[in-house]
Symmetry: C2
Subunit: 334 residues, 2 copies
């Protein structure tokens, strides 16, 4: 795969350099650690700090969601790799306003370890209270009874959105975490992979698929899914994804949801809207009301081909969170 | 190339169906013509109507820019093909508020013919005054002395943004067109293609390139550029694109510009920011001030690989236009 790069070992540093130069009115790098980026926007005193992070290569996740209404800071890892505790701790110190900091990240072993260590260091060395909420929305990654073992994928967007709003509403740390956990508990995602991405350093494809094959339930680092099968139509793919979600999280007539049809990187918007079209039809047939829709590239995997569907079941509090305005470099909602 | 499609002949209809279902609070299809989409937002009486359009496959261009602060309606063509006069006329009738309608589109033979015919029909049949401004920002497509012969590419985004703002400011039709033409006159783009897209109906790649080749000055339907060459580094690509722009439109110390680094479809945001990084360095070395930056997929070519750089030289009026808030399904600016 051809890439616009200089030294493959410096892609993250160079991306960050470009990013802060493009959006100096939104975000800056910490002087102590260039992998620690924090908002330049004024945040209210006593607001709980929202810290997100994870590997690079998922842009707009995660740095694109630092600004007003979502996260206050981000710790940036190498491509598809967790950030180390140092930048996490740096962000924590920078964004704590005395009300503590909520860490929001996907359920991956490396992230769990590094964010956990940073949380301990924040407590012991800096006396900052930290609580953690994990994203585990990927239906394909573990059985229903073991939701806590699941990976976080595009549903993390809803967690950031909900918890970011909660912090703006003036919730305390426990309530921000409760909101994040509710968003996660009410979200289910299912994805399909059509073509791999390539890591800049190796140039190797992240997985292999036949010319007319797709992979159902693929993880967003190329983790194997549930099954490989022949490339299906958009309607069949949408039906499969929604069916798997609704089998896992039954919704009934009158339920309200937020829908996210997320592109993995190289799938045109045209195709995402064709998928959305069928998702909407299925939900509409079941009397499930779509409260708000997001269609686009929200959490990607470099230039991977494919998409995921996420449904978040809403209550009044989550609706308020979803409606809350956001102003970040890669995502703005009025 | 694998695609998430149903019937390849229905991709545009199905995309539009999904699109209006996803964003009913922004946009609706005309009852008379499904390729005619207009804003559902209230617009001021006596505001000049802004009509954009062109082929499909460039999403977010063009339908993604209908909403508040940019366009009031869009006429949608087949993939990479101009819309016919009918939907253009339908949109014209729907968005005219008595102050006339500005047509904004790229300088392509099919668009020039069809928008021109629709403008005549609007005048003769509906007594609606229409004026047209073309986008011709692609430096690669004709020599400097023949700027009017050039293609419109990503710089069209700046034309829509500027003219949309002008209409909101209460400018009359002549002044809206003046603003659009100034935005075009002050904008230059240069692109580089790394990999082709495939048309859904044929599955054929839009152009051919060797495994380590890139094409400088590629058009966004796969039109041949200036030259093919070996794949260069991101810095070299940025330098070449900016040099060609500045040779064509010399800028001096103290000049101010808006910068757009536009992805063609499958190029990760990471790479676009690495390109931006070098663009910013070059401009900064020359004392050229970046007033505002846009980095992302603004006008794409399905899943084509590569990017373009656009610079728009600013004066006070264009700055006011660039600062004007926008609220559209695929682009929001506070």
């Amino acid at each position: 795969m051809k890439k616009l790069l200089n030294n493959p070992n410096h892609v993250v540093e160079e991306m960050l350099e470009g990013y802060v130069k493009a959006h100096p009115d939104y975000i800056k790098q910490s002087n102590q650690n260039k992998r620690a980026l924090v908002t330049t926007r004024q945040t209210k005193e006593n607001k709980v700090g929202i810290l997100i992070g994870g590997g690079s290569g998922h842009e707009p996740g995660f740095l694109g969601y630092v600004g007003e209404g979502m996260a206050d800071g981000v710790a940036v890892g190498n491509i598809f790799a967790s950030p180390s505790p140092d930048p996490i701790l740096e962000v924590t110190k920078a964004i704590d306003k005395g009300a503590g900091v909520a860490y929001l990240h996907g359920n991956y072993a490396g992230d769990v370890m590094n964010f956990g260590m940073a949380a301990e260091m924040a407590d012991l060395e800096e006396d900052i209270e930290v609580k953690i909420a994990l994203g585990s929305d990927d239906v394909a990654s573990a059985p229903k009874e073991e939701k806590k073992k699941r990976r976080g994928i595009a549903g993390e967007f809803f967690i950031f959105k909900s918890a970011g709003a909660a912090a703006d509403f003036g919730y305390d740390l426990d309530d921000v975490i409760r909101m994040a956990e509710k968003a996660n508990e009410n979200s289910r995602s299912m994805g399909v992979g059509l073509s791999p991405c390539a890591l800049p350093q190796t140039g190797e494809p992240s997985f292999e698929l036949g010319e007319n094959e797709m992979e159902i339930g693929l993880g967003h680092h190329g983790e194997p899914g549930i099954e490989k099968g022949p490339l299906a139509t958009a309607d069949e793919v949408a039906e499969r994804l929604v069916t798997d979600i609704l089998t896992d999280m039954p919704l009934t007539n009158q339920d309200e949801v937020a829908v996210l049809v997320n592109g993995l990187g190289s799938t045109p918007r045209m195709e995402l809207y064709i998928i959305f079209r069928r998702v909407e039809q299925i939900l509409s047939e079941k009397g499930i009301h779509i409260y708000r829709s997001y269609v686009g590239d929200y959490i990607t995997s470099l230039e991977m081909g494919g998409c995921s569907v996420t449904l978040m079941k809403l209550d009044d509090e989550l609706k308020k969170g979803i409606d809350h305005p956001v102003n970040c470099p890669m995502f703005v909602q009025k």
